[in-house]
């Protein structure tokens, strides 16, 4: 039996005791049926294509051990100490190397080292967004950005994409419209390479035009580029940062997909006045990112093999992507479409509009397979017949089997719909647009972060 002060035992679960203390902004952190569904995807017997995790299993354990020992032996005091808010300069040099790999030349002193790329999104919102300010984003957009945008009470306008990425012409129309309405867009959020969740890549002409528009209108662009180096086919395209030269682009990078998300290290490169504000914001958030992680990265890069590991990841993920695309072609019905990502971690599949992928997920879970329903990537209730499929987190066998199972339930629904609609009809009304359903603003957990083990789990 638990003993001791009331902080032990189960008191921490006693939510209602604290309910009166919560800030009103926590009201958007809601629970919903869709969230409850997503929670079920964590059952061990479920093949989850819903996550967004890189595969960290191929990183050699002895290498991890030797880097850690080296850091401990050579720089123990420094690794255990606070770091500067902007990050250690040695890490900024590593970051400059990574960005040079995509032909993007920066001054390491323009770098802010952050706690994962996610912190950049938070800091940019914190720095730029007053309640009601407009953020332009892609449709669909990164589900993990949605809660950040919502928490800062931004008004998000989502712009359609096609196989060449965001429709810049539509974006310009939206900007015109907003200007007429006197609404103020603060920044344009885009993932130009192998977009999460859509898997498409912005074409060069659109990149050029986007940068021009930003300059003409003096708008900032947040270029989120976690997957740029994970290209499996085609020629690399210049980053927006390199096209713009740094006047209106805030660049977001991360070590999560090229090394490890467990390090929690990302970065921002931004125009100096913006960077200074973000630096202040970071100071009040967490003072600095982990020194230990920064020392680890420094040592890892000093050994000079970081590109080899990226190459090995590319091989693994390319095979998995191909497996997924083959499986989709084999198991999905003719009515379905999906993107062909040239890199990254995700395929975006779209089903006939009478299928709702949130409902489909409930059915799929009975077959022990999961994906992210498309609605998680929209703030306006769209995306109801789409789904995000991840191919980096599970092996080829699981990908093949997972897609087969999803294909089976999709075919079931297609068949049922055909049966229902084959009735003799007099004056059947045209298909109604699907009703916008509730969006889940706390789907950051589509990432399916690993759970703490039982002994550690105290604060839940």
């Amino acid at each position: 039996m638990p003993e001791g002060p009331p902080t032990g035992g189960r008191a921490h679960r006693d939510l209602e005791r604290y309910a009166g203390l919560f800030a009103s902004r926590t009201r958007v952190m809601k629970s919903s049926a869709m969230r409850d569904l997503m929670a079920i995807t964590e059952r061990p017997e479920v093949i989850s294509l819903a996550g967004g995790l890189p595969d960290t299993s191929t990183f050699p354990a002895e290498r991890l051990a030797s880097i850690m020992s080296k850091v401990a032996a050579d720089s123990s005091a420094k690794a255990l100490q606070y770091a500067p808010t902007e990050g250690m300069s040695a890490v900024a040099d590593c970051i400059a190397q990574v960005m040079a790999e995509e032909d993007t030349v920066i001054d390491p002193s323009d770098v802010l080292v952050t706690t994962g790329g996610q912190q950049v999104i938070d800091l940019v919102c914190k720095t730029l967004i007053d309640p009601g300010d407009v953020i332009i984003a892609e449709a669909p957009t990164y589900p993990g950005a949605v809660p950040a945008f919502t928490a800062y009470q931004a008004d998000v306008v989502q712009i359609e994409m096609d196989s060449d990425g965001m429709r810049i012409d539509e974006m310009e129309e939206a900007l015109e419209r907003l200007e007429r309405e006197g609404r103020r867009p603060k920044f344009i959020y885009t993932i130009p390479n192998f977009q999460n969740p859509a898997g498409v890549t912005m074409s060069l002409p659109r990149r050029r035009r986007l940068v021009e528009v930003a300059r003409e209108r003096e708008l900032l662009v947040l270029e989120d580029n976690p997957y740029g180096l994970l290209r499996y086919e085609g020629d690399p395209l210049p980053t927006l940062r390199s096209l713009d030269g740094g006047a209106f682009v805030i660049y977001l990078g991360t070590f999560s997909k090229i090394l490890s998300p467990g390090l929690r290290l990302g970065w921002a490169v931004a125009p100096v006045p913006v960077l200074q504000k973000m630096n202040l914001g970071k100071q009040e958030s967490d003072l600095c990112s982990s020194s230990l992680s920064q020392m680890f990265v420094t040592q890892y890069f000093a050994e000079g093999h970081w590109q080899d590991y990226v190459l090995s990841l590319r091989d693994v993920y390319r095979r998995r992507r191909d497996t997924m695309l083959d499986a989709l072609a084999e198991h999905f019905p003719a009515e379905a479409t999906w993107t062909h990502p040239q890199g990254g971690l995700f395929v975006w599949a779209t089903l006939p509009d009478y299928i709702d992928t949130t409902d489909l997920l409930a059915l799929a879970l009975q077959s022990n397979v999961a994906f992210v329903p498309g609605r998680a990537a929209y703030l306006d209730g769209r995306g109801g017949s789409s789904m995000r499929l991840n191919f980096s987190g599970v092996d080829e066998h699981a990908i093949r089997e997972g897609i087969r199972r999803i294909g089976e339930v999709v075919r079931e629904q297609v068949g049922l719909f055909a049966t229902i609609t084959s009735r003799p009809q007099s004056g059947q009304a045209p298909m109604s647009a699907p009703e916008p359903a509730a969006i889940d603003q706390e789907l950051a957990d589509v990432l399916h972060l690993p759970k703490r083990d039982k002994r550690e789990r105290r604060a839940e």
Binding site: S32, D359, L416, F417, A429, S432
Partner: protein, 307 residues
């Protein structure tokens, strides 16, 4: 002081809500001085019950297995007294179609409806009846899975064109679906405790689309008024009707009866829930609170009714 097993979690789609209900109930039982064992219900349920040998099981399972009589049946066999309704009442209430037939047969008001199994569409040409059904029920029509406890899979079809997709959605959750006449009006819930109706809770959507079911169950998008702003006469009628439904369906100890009050002031019973939620935003605890029964007292009363 006695040993109480709190049954929670399980494999239903409402697992998360159930875990929250269960956690709160465990806290309350501990404060009441019981020896509490939480059991996340899985394949080892029976052996856990035999190991733990509880004097009572407090059921906090929602949806499939926990609310449909399955777990209750196991408890009967193992010989552990449990809270709430027995097997047959659970089976009746978990299947909205069965419950609505019972209500209609007894002359209690429930919105007009028709129900189908997936097989009826696939093998018996049920689709041919849709135009006639739509004519009888009018639009919008509500399409619901027969045995899904939460808002998942419930759709309003504003016209005939929207019915097939709504059916496909509902069949994602259940082998059987119902099409029900939509009642335009106020949404009320009457919780019954120890066979007495508690103050009525009204769910008031906050400027959202009325037809967005999910929104109505989310914090911040729905306001709950308790007691609902109704005159004494209406309150008494609604409570009496809920109690009649509770008795008719054979519920024991506690239940929550959901109703609509139409523009003419006529109440319509939608369904009865045998294991109402016990989370911080759930309606039964709100109603009990309005009756001056705090959460611990509520839990104590429910446990008292275990048999």
């Amino acid at each position: 002081m006695s040993r109480v097993a709190v049954l929670k979690g399980g494999r239903s789609l409402e697992r998360q809500v159930s875990l929250k209900s269960g956690a709160r109930v465990e806290d309350a039982l501990e404060r009441l001085g019981h020896d509490v064992v939480g059991i996340d219900v899985g394949h080892d349920l029976v052996s856990r019950l035999r190991d733990v040998r509880p004097e009572a099981a407090f059921i906090c399972l929602h949806g499939r297995d926990g609310e449909d009589g399955t777990v209750q049946e196991l408890l009967e066999i193992v010989g552990v007294p449990y809270t709430g309704s027995g097997v047959s009442a659970c089976m009746r209430c978990a299947d909205k179609v069965v419950a609505k037939h019972a209500l209609r047969d007894a002359g209690l008001p429930t919105p007009d409806f028709f129900a189908f199994s997936e097989m009826a569409f696939k093998q018996l040409g049920a689709a041919d009846t849709l135009p006639a059904i739509e004519e009888r029920l009018g639009f919008p029509v509500v399409v619901k899975p027969a045995d899904q406890g939460s808002a998942l899979g419930i759709r309003f079809a504003p016209d005939a064109g929207a019915v097939p997709a709504a059916l496909v959605a509902a069949f994602s959750y259940s082998q059987k679906v119902l099409l029900e006449r939509a009642i335009d009006g106020r949404e009320l819930a009457v919780s019954i405790l120890a066979d007495e109706p508690l103050p009525i809770v009204e769910a008031i959507p906050l400027g959202e689309d009325f037809y967005d079911f999910e929104a109505r169950y989310e914090i911040g998008r729905t306001d709950f008024a308790c007691p609902a702003q109704l005159d004494d006469d209406a309150t008494a009628r609604v409570q009496q009707l809920a109690l009649e439904a509770h008795r008719l369906l054979g519920c024991r100890g506690l239940s929550r009866v959901d109703l609509m009050l139409d523009a003419d002031g006529k109440p319509w019973i939608l369904e009865a829930n045998t294991v109402p939620g016990m989370t911080e935003t759930s309606l039964l605890p709100q109603a009990a609170d309005a009756a001056g029964i705090d959460f611990d007292a509520l839990v104590a009363r429910i446990l008292q009714g275990a048999s």
